[in-house]
Symmetry: D2
Subunit: 346 residues, 4 copies
């Protein structure tokens, strides 16, 4: 049994880590941090939670939470992770950061898109980008995992294999993503109110969303050359789920390729990625509450494009689930331990 601390445990992603770890055989939750809820019990916020409900939130203070902990999950707004990461590394423990601070190989890109100065540039090099389907071997045995963003997870899974195989025109890539409202977090914003968002739909952050350079980093790595792409997120009246529809022009090689075979080779052995038959497309409810990603695709001969659509749960594969998958790799547990719950439907 390893000991786990969850910092930021009262937000949606933090609480989802708690929910999933509750059924994990190899870990024990030893600390729940939430500055604003200090002194409250987890069960005060989530009343039907069995024994875990009795745990009391403490401060987000490494001096306290590291005492009895082997691995720390950070579910904090970006910009707040650095002191925690420094403390964890110094203590020789492991940390999985759900924030953006350590996701970028080029810290300048982070600073430019996030409009902040990074306060631990040197440490940034030690971080591994925690998308197991791409970087499984690099993750094992590391100390610091930068858990991918929710949109970048769905977008990267959609096109990485095709880019890697050199099948698409790199200047033609467009991601149109649609997210449930939990992606905006539990903070009080007018746009997150039921009455503002129900029965409605909108694009936001067009051309400026901070997940854009993260997706570009991933596909650039796949391509071996700089990729610039369009990414448009939308807000959809549902709590969970991201559907990303990706568009790319197939090049000559791509037009001749067996696209299905490329996806099968990439994901055929992956427990958490389900490739559907060509022309079948996933709905987000199929993965609700899970770490699964479902992928549909269609080669459109009329336009020479391939359309790929991925469905994930933004709090699952897009955040907490993937974080636990990373933890399992870090500690040599079965990769799907704690993640075998089937999707809630309906």
């Amino acid at each position: 049994m390893i000991g786990v601390a969850v910092i930021g445990a009262s937000g949606y992603a933090g609480a989802e880590i708690v929910r999933l770890l509750a059924s994990h055989k190899e870990v024990e939750i030893r600390y729940l941090g939430a500055n604003t809820k200090k002194g409250l019990a987890f069960g005060d916020l989530f009343p039907c939670y069995g024994p875990l409900g009795a745990m009391v939130f403490g401060e987000n203070d490494p001096d306290i939470y590291l005492a009895d902990t082997d691995v720390v999950f950070l579910a904090l707004p970006h910009g707040l992770s650095v002191p925690h990461v420094l403390a964890v590394l110094k203590a020789g423990k492991k940390v999985i950061d759900l924030g953006a601070d350590f996701r970028f190989r080029d810290v300048d890109v982070y600073e430019s898109w996030y409009k902040v100065q990074h306060e631990a540039r040197a440490i940034s090099e030690k971080a591994v980008y925690g998308l197991p389907e791409l970087y499984r071997e690099q993750i094992r045995g590391e100390q610091l995992i930068a858990n991918p963003g929710c949109y970048p997870t769905g977008a990267t899974l959609a096109l990485y294999p095709l880019v890697k195989a050199g099948l698409i025109d790199l200047d033609s890539i467009i991601f149109d993503s649609k997210s449930g409202i939990s992606g905006a977090g539990r903070g009080l914003k007018e746009g997150s109110l039921y009455c503002e968002s129900a029965e409605s739909l909108k694009a936001y952050g067009v051309g400026t969303h901070r997940h854009t350079p993260e997706i570009e980093q991933n596909l650039t790595e796949a391509a071996g050359e700089k990729v610039t792409l369009s990414f448009t997120p939308h807000l959809v009246p549902m709590s969970r789920g991201i559907l990303t529809t990706a568009y790319a022009r197939l090049n000559q090689k791509g037009l001749k390729a067996d696209i299905g075979a490329v996806f099968d080779e990439a994901y055929g052995d992956e427990y958490f990625v389900q490739v559907l038959p060509e022309g079948s497309f996933p709905q987000t409810k199929w993965v609700q509450g899970t770490n699964f990603a479902a992928l549909g695709y269609k080669v459109d001969g009329r336009t020479g494009r391939v359309v790929v659509s991925t469905a994930i749960d933004n709090l699952g594969k897009g955040a907490a689930g993937q974080g636990i998958q990373n933890m399992n790799l870090l500690f040599g547990f079965e990769e799907n331990e704690g993640l075998r719950q089937m999707p809630l439907f309906p």
Copy 2:
């Protein structure tokens, strides 16, 4: 490992049994029956389902499904259970019927409210009403469990202890229940369409709903005398969840009683029933996807009434979850085995 068959496995309640059993340590699902889906794989309907997705639906034929099975879940429309139950009993196996056919001690009441003739009156006496918090000891070791209806579960839990303790005027009981739309099943009805039910709310079956006599049976048993009550179900724009708000006038004894203590005595040791402090009331999302019931209450001195509100997941404690809880009792497993998933929130 015991073998399980789920008959009616493509509907919402049937599929929920499959979902929950997927994480049950003591059972193996050996048969999925669904006449209309015969030949399809479970994964054709629920694509992200891990290994279980490969199971193929077969006919609802006892000669086939009993071969390798220790217990059968029947998730069929009322009136269809009898031949299955007869076959299971004859084979010396166990059966948990989610339908209404065997819930009534007085078969005449069933026939009168359901407008059908019961085709196995003699067998009806062997059935145990499967509400474990009330009838735990009677359930153990039986063969035929009549799983309670969704509304009766929430309603009965709300007032049973108070009625049993003789604290309320028996002619004053009113249940106002509100259910998510999965309660109407997966059938194609205009009223179940998104556009008809979203952003809307209505009462239905006022004074005539078939769950009325089932609740009356339970409270009559608690009271030791005939209870007649009002029950009004409503349809709410959400997929899962039932909230039942119960109203009753406290009698002289009730006005002096410590209502909270009565609930604590009834449910304090129950894993699946969470009694909230007086004046706190549950929301259905707190129990989403689980077998929990959350109960809030308030003694209103102005009116002399007690108001009790219970939240359950109609597919969980209201159907599949309770069915598995019953199975655990039948086979001597831990009562919450397979039911330790925490609620999905948000």
Copy 3:
């Protein structure tokens, strides 16, 4: 053409007044007050609004808004209306207050339930309670209208005629109401977030909600003696709509009465109240965006109770629509002028 000012015009009820007045033939909106939005245009908040979008929000200052105004709508939180009402009355204009400050004949009741001191007790006597179906004649020609609360409108319409006719036991009255989330206003509260309220349902304010004494005042007036009743509001995942299900025991006279005839006599000539045939029950979507109320009822011989259910739009008949109906009475316009829009469905 009369001139109208709407104070609190950026909230849900205030904006609904604007929306409805936009198609009213006899009025011109001359002032939109919203302290927090001062300087913004209405079209900045509601971009597709035709010519009205160009109007700029001003302060909630009577010295400014009374200049060119015949009638003022106050859509402010309770407790803020008094200075506006004093200024309007002094100027000899008319005012329709959507808040609670002037709804109570007995100001002590207001102070006791709202936990505030009323700052204009003397004025309170001049207010008329603006439920036109009950007090049409008293409303005409008055200066100060206290617009009813949303829940009290639906609840009062449900049982007023039966109480008035002396058909029910006055100690048996229970209102179980369910409201869309716009009833909580546009303020930033965690409970109003999409992710907290979607796919969920809860009771709140049990035994303590401030609309209780308002309903009691109305039914007391109908009965000619003090009525004490139970009222439980619930929050439902939809933006608009209130469904109130009322329960009452019929007395000897009531058991013999023709309940449908009583409703027909009360509402048969009312444009805005639709009585359904016995056993038919309304859904809130039938009145979405309108000033209609739909009423269903059922006499339940088994229990001796009558169950009545009313559906209104909480922002329509429950607030803005009724306010405009009152204005039409004040100025002698056709009572349904500006209110002839049919319900949005789906």
Copy 4:
């Protein structure tokens, strides 16, 4: 006063025509046709409908409905319009067909995508495509209007001006559209059930949706050369609204152009099209229940693309509203008569 017949009046689009015409000053609804509801009153389906509720549905028989009618709205599934159109034209009346049968200049395209044989090719030439913002002058005085599809309306408005001005690479056009569920009609399909579609999202008809050639026809007309494009519709858990996000690469001329000025020139005088400032994007709720279209755009220098997003109500500007706008042009009424209702919000 002209007389109107609505054929297919019990479906969502047909009933929306009735709803809007109810407040139209120049018309009288004289016939409601709905084969499956014959003999029922409109008020049986939509109980709160004022005087219109008393109208009784008749058969969809031109011999009956043309007697007293100047213009007919056809809200029928595609393929059923031809006999009605022939009868109306023969009688010298006018017809607005909400179906697809007469939208295509090249009937072969219709037959190829809709997999049917067109039974009135000769008549097809007489049809005018009823998108008033593009073809206002051609519409006036005609007899047969082919009302545009819902997706094509939003998509065409998004890019028509830019294509017409020669600013974009014609092989780079992608439309990613998201529709509310009323777009699927009132028919009983499993995918339209609340429990299947709520809290979920999916793409469908990828590369094969029948609205693709209709959008291509419109943009081909704008370009003066053949345009082939990608169009992906998605189903979103809301009743009404379509958001279309369009992507196109700007050519050299386009990169230098003032895109905002192009939109202003195209739509600056249009009552029903609202162009937002660059970088502001619309939400569908802003146009709920109306004939408005809201358009946002962003020139993305990084990628050389323009992103344009339009929000319409699929039953408003996407169907019934636009139909009435066309009727107003046909008869010389004010173009926004009957269409001045402001959006329902929230």
